[in-house]
Amino acid sequence: MPDNLSSTRDRIMARIRAATAEAPNREFAAVLASRPPAENLLAPVDDPVNEFLKRARSNGCELIDLPDLPELPVSVASRLPGIETLAADERLGYLDWSAFRLTDNTSEAATGLVLADAGIAETGTLVFTNRTVASSLLFLVDHLAVLLLLSRLQRRQEDTCRAIDRDASAVHLVSGPSRTADVEQTIQIGAHGPRRLLVFVLDDRASPVSFVQ
């Protein structure tokens, strides 16, 4: 069986090599480096903060300006009245969450609270890796509340993939609540993932925030 499988691979690769006429010993690094020079670049993203806010809003995110970090629990409570159970990012656990019951079980929590690893201005996108946030927390809750620090905002996707831990087994770009148009092309929010996506935006560029990891 293994022999048979490896010969399938070799047959396919031989046909590919015959078709592309690649030099047999070409290093992959040389392929990566053969990317054309960045001369025909897209128009620069001049005002990333406003671009992010504009794009995120049109993606269906609810944006909340957070004056400082300790305000977060109160701000979350006021935006999500009646919410009792919260599955929270452990990096935010040291804040005063006494108004909520915290849980690790994401499938029982209606609300998740997470810190974004990065934001992308170009498309109003939030970035997470499962080194810091469980994928299930992002997708199983009904409401997802995200803390975005403006110091982590990137202009474009290309800048972002250099800034995050892309070796993680899962990197998620989240750009709005879950939606579907599979019934008569009618957009319906809340398909399988969160029905609401709230983004709490904190400007930490002048006074950096640190988290207990």
Binding site: A19, V31, N130, Q157, S169, A170, H192
Partner: protein, 477 residues
Amino acid sequence: MSGPQTFIARAGAALDDPQLQSALARARSGFVDKRASAIAAEPDFDLMRDQAREVRQRSLSNLAACLEEFEQQVTAAGGQVHWAESTEDLRRIVIDICLRAGAQTVTKGKSMVGEEAALNQALEQAGLTPWETDLGEYIIQLAHEPPSHIVAPALHKTRSQIADLFRNAHALGERDLGEVSALVDEARAVIRERFLSADVGITGANLLIAETGTAALVTNEGNGDLTARLPRTHIVTTSFDRVVPGWEDASKILRVLSRSATGQPITAYTSFFSGPRAQGEQDGPENFHVVLLDNHRTDLLASEFREMLHCIRCGACMNHCPVYQNVGGHAYDSVYPGPMGAVLSPLLRGYSQDDELPNASSFCGRCEEVCPVRIPLPGLMRKLRERETLEKKSSWLSRRLLAAFAVVARKPVLYRHLTSAGTRLLGAVGRRRGVLRTVPLASGWTRYRDLPAPQGASFQQRWAREEGTKAGDKHNA
């Protein structure tokens, strides 16, 4: 599906199906308008298309190097790459992984390669229970039908047909399913349980990234992520031509993909999966497999049809195709419908009846115009038509007609006489209304639309007249 055997018969049936026509009418404006407004909002869109096309070209000319790197990276991360020469290989590999994992239930995200290989039927025959999780795929699974669109598989279904399918499948008693929200909520509740209990999750991939051994997945519902991350085993079914060298190259493709598909600058979820859960990570599968299908793609790579492998599966060509818009996807009798399918289906499976598909086009050129990676679809269809004629597979009548046209077209005087006589005749008959309701021997056309009546002169006559006027203007100036 067992239905009429020819495209023409299937197209005729589609035109006579009022439910289908009402579903298609809705989709026509939906996709086209959404894409148009997304592109109007993006002044750099043409540059984005050039960049995406460059990535597809460079990826294919360095395909072996990219795939070697991809395989190495997946293996280094603790995953496994499998190679499937045929769809049969793919089915066998996937079933083998499921059985070795002791699986009974399988959640599935949308995978066109999975559809190409008819994976669901094979999983069922092996005693496994496949659960589609994408809403559109779930609807057609309940209807036991193939997809009719590569992005919106249940495009051909109306709301009331979907409500009937749900009543039949879910024993939930009396309830109101009149609203779209009620249907979506019901599917959400039913499928939620399945996400949490499935043994294996199978998804497709929109892209593979060589430098980190990554499968990228684009969805709006979030079903792909729940399928990929919750079960103990994640299997990606895709084809080797999806690979790009690096993350920055992936960005170039993603930028044009969702704008062209659904008119969104980006979909709600774009996720990148690299190997099983690693130490210190929060969650994820224990096993990660990528199955790469060939199924004649290596032949395409070596042929004059290589550009077809640039396709990023956005569906814009079918959304804008006047033929697809009127007959829907099932008329093509392939999981790949519309213009891209008319090129791909004959090349991937080569059924004798597939020769019809490249002929199901008026060559209006809209598909090429909207293709985000500028695939010359009409040109590729023309090459397939040429091949059909050279191999003498087209019908005796169409070859005789073409030969007769060739004779006339090479004799300008005869051509002029015949066309101006025809123009005068049709013009005289249709003068009163400006259109012709019926034309002898052309009921296939006039049954569904009027034939505009020529306005008294042939193109060459009008051209000569216009040129004469212009020359006169120049002379006067």
